[in-house]
Symmetry: C2
Subunit: 428 residues, 2 copies
């Protein structure tokens, strides 16, 4: 038995408390598996007096996480405060500069400052680990960075925001409109303080940007991601999609194409018989595709005390075992700056529009599509209600550019009540 | 860039050829990710002249894998010959004794000699890695050993023989009897030379024994596993199970109970809406449950050149990166000898029997069940055909001991045409 691994934990919310519980409850198996004891020496949080359901009396209290991060008696700084900047970033930088390994669950910080922090970690000769930042308890960072390391990764996909998946699933099962289910989710405490982080796809987009960096050896580039939230999804779209054998998911897709790196987080249709289509409620799923391994699907709880703490602990146990891997799977100095490519990979699209009751309206729609080079796989027109008739179209494979061109042309022909809903059908 | 990692590969079947292809095709990304080149220096197989579709001319040929395993210019011995004993074991032992790390895909060798080999690896200060031995391309050894390392594992389940899952799925979709689908699978080359390895559950049992050792810190104990194959499953059972909302899968389950270690590989009913129930065809799935992480589901190709080679490469890249973990996740000297426990965890059971056309027959059956302490959840009796009537029973939770007692009592009452089919309904 070597010397213990000494932790300082900043942030005592759900995850921080979960980590403290795991360190205590599973102390014996942790030392059996790593050959070392894991000890918490210091903790820090905004409020010292709050009752968190765990005793903190054996740990030094520090008011300032930055000061705590540089303590001589700390080996690993565990950052669980959140926020892309502010104390989380300052303390992480201070910890690395002071020669500490860092474990964090902070997807926003990594998505925005990942490259700079990875460089800082390498300069300091320390590791920066973040299994908990993506898909909660699912060990996806390890699977991608190590488990599939011999593969050229061809595509990464994921449903990585449980709140959005809950909302979409609940809209379908209860037949309720978006606003009503959104209010329910809010009342249940499922939403972030700023709900656009969830329903705008930002939170899930942060996670996808991190996965893309590992998968393709590129510098994390959240600002180049195409983001579209779920707030425009209607119960009609969900029903119509179901009718044609699809589910609507807030799906992240990253792939390296000849024209650059595609990163999209947007509502997509997926076949209802696929693992992604069958994912109901708040669970997360990540799909990894490699040139030799084919498709690997990982499923588990994407949030919550136990699952997220489990991921944090996996990083801590790796460090205790002496497992040291570069932040994004290879030296940060080697990561390339990818050219962003906007949805160049062709796919079928789903279009829903309200056709005005005018002679020749449908012909005009069909002409617009034809002139944009879009061919129609399936089309349904329903009866008129209030002077408009719902029209659904599933196209053959086409490009986003063609869809955008058609959308623009629709504006000019004046036979559609409002801009059409256009959703990509992702081939999974 | 440090010195290259030098491999010797014994066994040039599908997997060996796949590894050679990956080392060549992905050389650039392998060295980017590990900071080292990976080189093959020598190869060995039964026949030198066979055309394998890859050139071997840059590698030394060795007739004897044991000699090759101890070459001075080899860092890692890659054992892909198969077979629990013979050359595979001899060469693995020789490699470890000569101070080489070993990577193998050999589930039989690990399930039977895992403890001795783990001790040998530790004595030599080398690692013995085997990601490819369980569930092909799914990085399940890494997920369990490292990704969930902070958890007490509570249960491990898996569908880990693609051939059996293909047979069961095909029986259902085509409505064909077992013998016919078995013959089809044989003609398609899906079966091992000795098909009982597949359909008898032995191959999948080897994999489960390995997972159980990591999960519970116990010495691998394949000989203590309850094994039951799929050859007694009829199309009637598949149909009746489907009718009640279940699928039949060859399911491995390992869990540590108060009475010892349960390890079962047997046909079970699982809900058709669960991830396991939705797994069709030759794909593998492993379900890992931990005290904090909850349930993690991993899905992917369980066999084939690319997926299996991907798993072998993951071990090789770990070694190149300096990742060194004890064979079964903790020192072999610490692994305990578990008491085998036979299906002590209660579960509902499915019973199918042919009731003879005798007065009071059903009353006798019900009495037997009642006297064994088994209560009935659902029962169906169909009309008589040829003097017998099919009866289906789903029990409430009960024990295997109670089911066995009932089976014995059925023998004595003489109202059932043949011993009843009894299948466990696993709660997933």
């Amino acid at each position: 038995m070597t010397t213990p691994l000494r932790l300082a934990i900043a942030g005592l919310g759900t995850v921080g408390v979960g980590v403290i519980k795991m360190v205590r409850q599973n102390a014996a198996l942790i030392s059996a598996r790593t050959g070392r004891d894991v000890q918490i020496v210091a903790v820090s949080a905004r409020s010292r007096d709050k009752d968190r359901g765990v005793s903190l009396q054996n740990y030094d209290w520090e008011d300032d996480p930055v000061t705590m991060a540089t303590r001589d008696d700390v080996d690993v700084f565990v950052e669980l405060m959140g926020g892309s900047d502010g104390p989380a970033k300052a303390a992480t930088e201070a910890a690395l500069a002071a020669g500490k390994d860092v474990v964090t669950a902070n997807k926003a910080m990594l998505a925005i400052h990942g490259q700079a922090l990875a460089l800082a970690a390498e300069e300091a000769g320390r590791v920066l680990r973040y299994e908990a930042a993506v898909a909660g308890g699912i060990p996806v960072i390890k699977a991608l960075t190590e488990g599939l390391a011999g593969n050229e990764i061809t595509r990464v996909m994921g449903v990585m925001n449980g709140t959005c998946n809950y909302i979409l699933t609940r809209m379908e099962s209860a037949g309720l409109p978006y606003d009503e289910v959104f209010a329910e989710a809010d009342a249940l405490g499922y939403l972030e303080a700023d709900p656009t982080l969830d329903v705008g796809g930002i939170d899930a987009g942060h996670k996808l940007a991190i996965l893309a960096s590992i998968a393709f050896g590129t510098q994390v580039a959240f600002d180049a991601m195409e983001l579209e939230g779920i707030d425009r999804i209607t119960i009609e779209d969900i029903r119509q999609a179901a009718d044609m054998g699809y589910k609507i998911k807030l799906l992240g897709v990253a792939q390296l194409t000849g024209r650059g790196l595609e990163q999209r987080m947007s509502p997509c249709l997926v076949p209802d018989t696929s693992p992604l289509g069958q994912l109901d409620g708040g669970t997360n799923m990540v799909v990894l595709e490699g040139d030799h391994v084919g498709q690997i699907v990982l499923r588990g709880a994407g949030a919550g005390e136990g699952p997220t703490a489990s991921a944090v602990m996996s990083d801590i146990l790796d460090i205790a075992r002496g497992i040291r891997v570069a932040t994004f799977g290879q030296p940060a100095t080697r990561l390339t700056q990818a050219t962003p490519a906007k949805a160049v990979t062709p796919a079928p699209y789903y279009l829903r529009m309200q056709l005005l009751d005018k002679p020749g309206a449908m012909a005009k729609v069909a002409t617009v599509l034809g002139e944009a080079g879009i061919s129609i796989d399936r089309m349904r027109q329903y009866g008129h209600q209030d002077d408009t008739a719902p029209v659904l179209i599933v196209t053959h494979k086409t490009t986003r550019a063609a869809i955008d061109a058609a959308r623009k042309a629709f504006d000019a022909i004046d036979v559609i009540a409002e801009p059409p809903v256009t959703l990509r059908i992702e081939q999974v």
